[in-house]
């Protein structure tokens, strides 16, 4: 019992601003509906009946970048797509996060060696927070990636360093 809590009535808790902000932020991650290739089907499966991303507060897929916090790059990024991807990322409000889902988004994957039209890793285009490996990653892997992102959000602070 700290001094201040003794002074307050029951039903009131004290915490830091950081904790409260991060608590709210990490439990309402709105991903963007941004399926590119095969991984998008697994992303849909994560949002659908069995895996139900809503349990983690991240099931509200937004169709527009302006309402979303997380861009899940689910699939192969090509040179034709790269500029559009960057533009979508620019349109997202801060704080924004990017998850590279699957081997293609991480490094080009199976198209690494001979793919003349495949960007070898989406981190060349936008900064990536979380890499989820797999081809395609299983839904459990994507959920794990989301939980690691929540951990990352937990470390944020509004204090100026």
């Amino acid at each position: 019992m700290t001094f201040i809590e003794e002074k307050l009535n029951a039903g009131i808790i004290t915490t830091t601003v950081d904790w409260a902000l991060n608590w709210a932020r990490k439990r309402s991650i709105f991903p963007m509906t941004f399926g590119i290739a095969c991984c998008a089907i697994e992303m849909m499966a994560v949002g659908a009946s069995r895996f139900d991303l809503d349990r983690f507060g991240a099931g509200a897929f937004r169709a527009t970048p302006r309402q979303s916090d997380l861009m899940i790059v689910a699939g192969t990024v090509t040179f034709k797509m790269a500029e559009r991807l960057n533009r979508l990322w620019q349109q997202m409000p801060e704080p924004r996060y990017v998850m590279a889902m699957g081997a293609c988004a991480i490094s080009g994957g199976p198209y690494h060696k001979f793919g003349y039209h495949v960007v070898k890793g989406v981190d060349q285009v936008v900064p990536v927070d979380i890499f989820v490996p797999g081809c395609p990653p299983r839904p459990e892997a994507l959920i794990e990636g989301l939980m690691r992102l929540q951990d990352k959000i937990d470390t944020h602070t509004i204090a100026r360093r």
Binding site: I41, T78, K80
Partner: protein, 390 residues
């Protein structure tokens, strides 16, 4: 509403009411490549006049992954995983198409058990693929629940696939010479159990979505594709059958022992509008669910013990020559054109993606339709961009 759609020329009579000093012009609307109802990275540039779409120009290539160039650099067995990633909703069927083409050229005889296993998985994958098509089409039309229902059943099919090969989406299970490994124990029972459950669920989809009044209003008489137009644009699969053309490669040129099975080929009848409208294309897929389940049941009966893989040389070389071979995929005819110079990898491999041809009709279908109908038309074609761009 219907009058506007069926007119060949847009109704421009309202222009007379516009005061002379108001300048009007056509507006270009860019739809995609990131748009929830384009099923991937399709971009359509719409030339609009108010709510009317005068012309729709699809732009593709945002997922061009160079599969044909890669094929020239890898060996035949190494290319099997790349076929998975073309039409990623029907990976088994893609594996089958490629394996059949190579086997025909190399003269490999596949054991009967493997052929029936292939049919079982091809048809289960057809069900899974059509479930996604039906579910997401509901999503496009604003019905969220069917999507969850369809994915529930799809997960069950994926469990069956997982028990056989360990993967959920990209299987590489059907390989050159047979299948990768034999079925797990009790697979037939698990499959029967699923089919018993599944066949009742089709009624549920129909009640929930197919005969839903709002859904019929959104899709009936929209995007009408007459049979001659469909053939001229090279449509195949449910899109062609939706226009009333009874053409199915499994009947017309049976492969992998499809001639031993009894099944019907459903065609569009124009129950809620004209033959070849979006509802017809959608409903052909629903009807095919039943037929695929029928085939799986028959194939399970025919399974008898035996080897599941023919002897294939470790470094497979095809004789010099060429072949064009097609299979009936959930989206249409998937063709592989292989030119071999006698080496271990193809000299040239060309893939005829059914979605590629099906999508090319979009400009013709989406002429003078309403803006809101674009989602209905694109969704009813059920394209997979991985296959359009390859």
């Amino acid at each position: 509403m219907n009058d506007i759609r069926l007119q060949s020329q847009p109704d421009l009579s309202y222009q007379d009411e516009i005061p002379a000093d108001v300048r009007t012009e056509e507006l270009l609307v860019n739809m995609g490549p990131q748009h929830p109802s384009t099923h991937g990275v399709l971009r359509v540039v719409l030339q609009t006049d108010g709510e009317m779409v005068l012309k729709a120009t699809p732009h593709i290539g945002y997922l061009h992954r160079c599969a044909e160039k890669i094929a020239e650099n890898v060996t035949y067995p190494q290319f099997v995983p790349y076929t998975d990633r073309m039409d990623y909703l029907a990976a088994m069927n893609n594996n089958l198409g490629f394996a059949l083409a190579v086997e025909k050229m190399a003269g490999i005889e596949v054991p009967p058990r493997a052929q029936y296993i292939r049919v079982i998985f091809a048809e289960l994958n057809r069900i899974a693929s059509h479930l996604v098509a039906v579910g997401t089409y509901g999503l496009d039309m604003g019905a969220f629940t069917p999507f969850l229902y369809c994915f529930r059943e799809r997960e069950w099919i994926l469990d069956l696939f997982e028990s056989a090969c360990g993967a959920r989406l990209t299987y590489s299970y059907i390989t050159i010479g047979g299948v990768r490994q034999d079925l797990p124990d009790r697979f037939a029972d698990m499959c029967e159990e699923f089919l018993d459950f599944f066949e009742h669920k089709i009624v549920e989809y129909n009640n929930l979505l197919s005969y839903n009044h709002i859904f019929i209003q959104r899709t009936g008489n929209v995007g009408v594709c007459p049979a001659p137009l469909a053939v001229a644009y090279g449509l195949t699969g449910p899109c062609l059958r939706g226009s009333g053309v009874k053409w199915d490669l499994r009947k017309a040129a049976p492969y992998s022992r499809y001639d031993e099975f009894e099944f019907d080929v459903p065609v569009g009848e124009g129950r809620f509008g004209t033959v070849g409208d979006c509802w017809d294309r959608y409903f052909v897929r629903v009807l095919e669910l039943t037929q695929s389940a029928r085939i799986v049941r028959q194939a399970l009966q025919k399974l008898s013990p035996g080897p599941v893989e023919a002897k294939v040389p470790r470094s497979l070389k095809l004789p010099a020559g060429e072949i064009y071979s097609e299979v009936e995929n959930p989206r249409g005819q998937l063709g592989f054109y292989i030119v071999s110079d006698g080496g271990r990898s193809p000299y040239r491999l060309k893939v005829r993606g059914p979605s590629f041809c099906n999508l090319s009709i979009l400009t013709a279908l989406a002429k003078n339709c309403l803006l809101a109908d674009m989602a209905a038309i694109i969704g009813s074609l059920d394209v997979v961009m991985g296959e359009v761009d390859r």
